[in-house]
Amino acid sequence: MSRVAAALAGVAPGEALREGGPAVAGARPDATVTPTSVEQLAGVLKVASAQGFGVVPVGGGTDPGPVPPLEPFVVLSTRGLRGVETYEPADLTMSAWAGTTLGEVGDVTGAHAQWLPFDPPSMPTRTLGGLAATGVRSPLCASYGAPRDHILGLTLVTGDGRVLRLGGRVMKNVAGFDLVKLLVGSRGTLGVVVSVTVRLFPRPEREVALVMEADRAEDLVAPARAVSTAPVLPASAVLAAGFRTTAAGGAARAASLVVRVAGAPRTVAADAARLQAHVGGSFRTVEGVEAAALFEDLRDHAAAGEAVVRMASLPASVGDLLAAVAAVPGPVHVLADAMAGTVRMAAEGLSGEAWAELRGVAARLGGGCVLERGPLELLDVPGASPDDSRVEALTSELRARFDPSGVLWRGRSP
C-alpha cells in the first residue's frame, strides 16, 4: 500500500478507498477515494493537509482540463454523495448531493415539467457538483442565465476540511458577502462542493429549431449577427461547422445556424415569425423529437477530439473568431455561440503555430483563448497575456484562505 493510501485508510475505510485509479490529464493518482459522507470527505482533506499530498476533486470526469496535477495526489470522487436532498416543485428549487448527475436531476424535475436549463457537452453525465465547480457556460445561458445566476447555495469542504454552508435556498439573498459566486467556477481549487441548491425553471411547452444552412460558416455570420441583435431573444443561437444535420432531415451541408425558440405554443410561433422577419433569410423549421435530437447533437458538437479550444470575444466579433478557426489546417469541428460571442473548436491535432495564431487573434480582439483539452506541449507555447498581476495576487490570496496547505489541484491555476 502506498504511503498516501495508508494515511487515508483511517478516515476512508473499506469500499471508499481504492489504490491507484484512472489518470487525470495523464497523471496517475496514488489512490481514489469515494467518501459516502461529508465527514469522511472532510477527513480526507484534513489528512491531506496534515501530510501534504495533493487532492484532485472529480465529479463526472467529463471536463478534467489539460493540465495534470502534481504528484503525489489522490482523486477525491464525489460520486459517493448522490441523490436529491429536497425538491419543492412549487418553490422551483432543489437541493441535491454533488455527485448527482444532471441526467438524474433531469429525470426527477422532468416529472414536474421543470428543468435546469443548461446544455454543456456531456450534460447528462456531468454532476451537479461539477456544474458548480466549473460554472460552465452553454448556449442556453443566452436567455436563461448561467449556473452562477441559479446556484442559490452550496456546501463546501475547504482544503483544510472545514465544512461551510454558503448561500441558502431562497431566490434572493444578500446576507453577507457572496461566497457562492466565488466558488462557482473555481474548479476545485478552493474546496470540494458536496451539495448544491439550484433554481429550476418551468420546462417550455414547445421548442422549435430554426435552421439555415450554407457551404461555408462565414456565409452564416451575417444572419447569426442579425439573430443576436433581434428585438426578440431566442432561447439560444449557435452556428455549427463540420456538423451534419441529416438526423433532422436536412441536407448534409458544411455549416448550419440553429436558433432555438422556446415557450408557450403561441409565443413560439410569434417569436419565430419575428426572428424570420428580422433576419430576412429563410429558415427551415424543425420540431418535436427531431428538434430534440438536433439540440442534443449540437450540445455535444465540437467537444471531442485530440484538441478542444474555447475562444471568447464580444458577439460582434464572432465572425473574426470563426475566420480564425477556419484557418486552422485540417478538419475542425466548430460550435459558435452567436449570443455570447464564444467559439468552441475541436480538432484531431493542433500544431504549435496554429495554436499561437488562435491566441494571437483572441488577444487582438481583447478576448480569451483557452485549451480545454489537448497535448501538453501546447501549453508551453508562449503567448501574450494581459497584465493582471493584481488579479493574480488576489486569486492566490483567496486560494490560500480556503486551502491554506495548498493541497487542492496542485499545479493548476483556476
Binding site: 431562497v170 434572493k172 459566486k181 483557452v370
Partner: protein, 453 residues
Amino acid sequence: MVGRDHVITEAGRLLVYESDGLSAYRWPPRAVVLPASAEEASGVLRLLHAEGIPVVPRGAGTGLSGGALAPEGAVVVGTARMNRILAVDPPNRLARLQPGVLNTRLSDAARPFGLYYAPDPSSQAACTIGGNVAENSGGPHCLKYGVTSRYISGLTLAMVDGELVQIGGAGRDPEAGYDLVGLVVGSEGCFAMVVEVEVRLLPLPEAVRTLLGIFESVEDAARAVTAVIGEGLLPAALEIIDQGTIRAVEASVYAAGYPTDAGAALVVEFDGTQAGLDEDARRAEACCLAAGAREVRRARDATERLALWQGRKKAFGAMGRVAPDLLVQDATVPRTRLPEVLGRIGEISRRYDLTVGNVFHAGDGNLHPNILFDRRNREELERVEKASKEIMAVCVEAGGTITGEHGVGVDKRGYMRLVHGADEIEAMRGVKAVFDPRGLFNPGKVLPDEEAP
C-alpha cells in the same frame, strides 16, 4: 486633486451625508470628497490609504441598511460627480458607465436603441448603479429577469491603496479565473470602490399585460402567487400590497383607487411577445379567482397600467407619511412559506402593538414588512427592535434569510449569526481581508463583531 469645491468639511454641508435611507441613524463623516473620474478616485484613495484613514464609498444614499453611514473618523468618497455614461454599444448590448449614474438614466440612454437595463429597484429614479452593484439590488421585475449581478459583466475597481484594477469584461473568457465580479457585486462597499461599470442590456419587450387581483386576505394573495408559478407561468412581476399599505396609499396624495376594505392586492405583470400574453394573463386571472380573489382588474392601456402599479410604486412614500419614521424591513423566504410567515408577522405586530405594512416582491418570496414608529418614543423604538428581531427569526426558521436585497450594512450585522455559523463568518472575514488587509474600507459594516474567545 479634485478641486477645493469638491472637498466638503463644513458642518452645514456635511449634514446631507450624515444619514442614508436607514433614517434612525446619524453618523456625521469627517469629510466628503467628490472625485469626477476613476483616476481622481484612485488618487484620493491612495492619499487616504497613506494616512490610514477609513473610507466609505457613497452613491445616492438611498440604501436602507446604513451601508453609506460613516463610522467615526471616516471620509466619505461620493460618486455624485462620476455620473457619465461612457458608451452604449448596441451591437454587443453593453454599456459602460461611471458608478454615479442613476439607474433610470441608464435605461433612458439605452431606449433609443430598443434596449434597456433590467434591474429596476423601486428607488430607481434616485439610486446609482454603483449603489446597485454594491447592494446587488433587486426590483419588481427581477422575478423574471434576475438581480443586478446577472447584468454586471465587468468592473473597474479602485483598490484600498488606490490601484485601479479591471475585473471581468464581456469580451473576456467568462470561465477563466475566479468570478471576482460576482464576488464584488453585493460586497456593500467593503472590498473596493467601484469606479466604472460594464452592464448587459436587454431588448425592450414588445408588449406588457398588467393585472391587479383584489383579495380578502394577504394569505389568499400569497396562495395565488404559488398557483401562478405552479401553472408554469413566468410573470415579469408578482407584487403584493397588504391592507395597511393600501389604506396608507389611499389616504395619501398617491390614492390609486384600490378598495380600502380589501385584505391585499396582487399586481401580476407579463411581458414579452404580444401573441402569448393574453393567454398568460387569462391563466393568471383564473389562478387569482381560484385562490379567492374578489375581483381581477386588467389594464387596457399604458395609463391604466400606471394606475394599477401606483399603489405598489408609491407604497413606501405613502407609508412614510403616516408616521414620523418607517423601518423598511427586508427578508426572503421560500415562496411556498409566504402564507404562513405572513400570518406569523401579523401575530408579532399585534403582540408588540405595532403597525406593520407588507409590500413585497412575492414571486421571489422577498418580504418587506415595514414598521411604522416614532424614533423619539424610546419605548416604542424598543418594541420595534424586538419585533424586527422576531420577524427575522421567523423568516430564518422558515428556511429564509435576513435580507434579500437591501443588504446587511450596520442594521443587520446583529442578525448575521441567525443565518451563518462561526466558520462561514470567518470565511467572509478572510475574503474581506484579501481585499482590505487593514480594514480601512467601509469598516463596521456587514460582518458582526468578533465573538469573545
